[in-house]
């Protein structure tokens, strides 16, 4: 690893701080639900290790406790996680310099939060692959560990809400959104996407709101660019 790559690794790890603060209480809460659904710490930890997708895991755990079959759970997981297509495609221009061998590893860790932080940093300048590894794997480990802790010790901690962690992820999204809003067009896109997202939450079951709102807004964006 060159000196630059080391520096970028450390930068990536530091940038994970707000993600970790958001993941720990949410992962813990998921662990508590998993314990209620009858999953062991090992089973829950394996799910976080292999799937690593918060909302899909919440849905899977609640479907398991409702006695759902495996195929419906897998199908729902697929639909809920389809939005990652957009994140993966948006990151691709910034992966040009990264070896084709490392991309399959890095892309495994793409989540709402890791995407949001890394796309913002990537726009600021070239990033080495070590930045992505630092940011992504730190976030990943915090998720896996906190879900296992939730299953194991969930009963001990009465109320994480009192600690203000509810704001960790919204606060991070808000700061990142401020960085993305650069002119009237992007401000307009933010408004449209946010309202559409709420609209779709009202009219459609499942987690279609983010992907539908983003696709429609980006299409409007393309028209505005012409």
């Amino acid at each position: 690893m060159t000196n630059l790559e080391k520096r970028e690794l450390i930068f990536g790890i530091k940038r994970a701080a707000p993600i970790v603060m958001g993941y720990v209480p949410v992962g813990f809460a998921l662990g508590v639900l998993a314990a209620d659904a009858g999953l062991s710490p090992l089973q829950t930890g394996m799910m976080s290790l292999l799937v690593y997708a918060g909302s899909a895991q919440f849905i899977a755990v609640s479907m398991l406790s409702a006695g759902a079959g495996y195929l419906p759970i897998i199908a729902t997981t697929f639909l809920v996680n389809l939005r990652h297509i957009l994140f993966s495609a948006s990151l691709s221009p910034y992966f040009k310099e990264i070896s084709q061998k490392i991309i399959p590893l890095i892309s495994f860790y793409i989540t709402d939060e890791s995407f949001a932080v890394s796309i913002t940093d990537a726009k600021e300048g070239n990033l080495a692959y070590t930045y992505f590894l630092g940011l992504y794997i730190t976030s990943y480990l915090s998720w896996v560990i906190s879900t296992v802790l939730g299953v194991t010790f969930g009963a001990l901690i009465p109320n994480t809400k009192a600690l203000g962690f509810d704001f960790a992820l919204p606060g991070m999204f808000m700061a990142l959104l401020c960085m993305q809003i650069k002119d009237r067009k992007t401000a307009f896109a933010a408004l449209v996407a946010g309202l559409l997202s709420i609209f779709f939450l009202y009219i459609l079951p499942g987690n279609w709101n983010v992907i539908l709102a983003s696709i429609i807004t980006a299409m409007i964006g393309v028209l505005m660019e012409k």
Binding site: F78, A89, S92, Q100, I103, G164, F167, A175, V222
Partner: protein
């Protein structure tokens, strides 16, 4: 719930597979190619759209319903913290200041 461990592993592998493909395939196809102009423009608007689509329901809705009253302490916190986020564009500072604000507001509401 009686969980057959071999079947459970199959469930996890299925979930892992369908989650990994959408993460992997677009970047594998697009990263070493020149992306068409129209797709570049489209993707330019994705980050701002995704962030807003994630944020707005999160702070405007409580229990799946829009709640614009002061009982929605997450919304009040967001409004109070927004100038800081906009001025500093600093994630960590925004999160910390907001968490402290939220703790205080939650105490006041009780």
């Amino acid at each position: 719930m009686n969980m057959d461990s071999r079947n459970y592993l199959l469930l996890l592998l299925g979930m892992a597979f369908v989650t990994y493909l959408p993460r992997l395939i677009p970047v594998m196809i697009l990263s070493k190619r020149n992306i068409p102009e129209v797709l570049v423009k489209f993707l330019k608007f994705i980050p701002v759209s995704v962030l807003s689509a994630l944020l707005l329901p999160n702070i405007l809705m409580v229990d799946n319903k829009i709640n614009l009253s002061s009982s929605n302490t997450l919304l009040v916190t967001s409004i109070l913290t927004f100038p800081l986020a906009y001025k500093t564009r600093n994630m960590f500072l925004t999160v910390i200041a907001g968490m402290i604000t939220l703790v205080i507001l939650n105490r006041l509401m009780v």
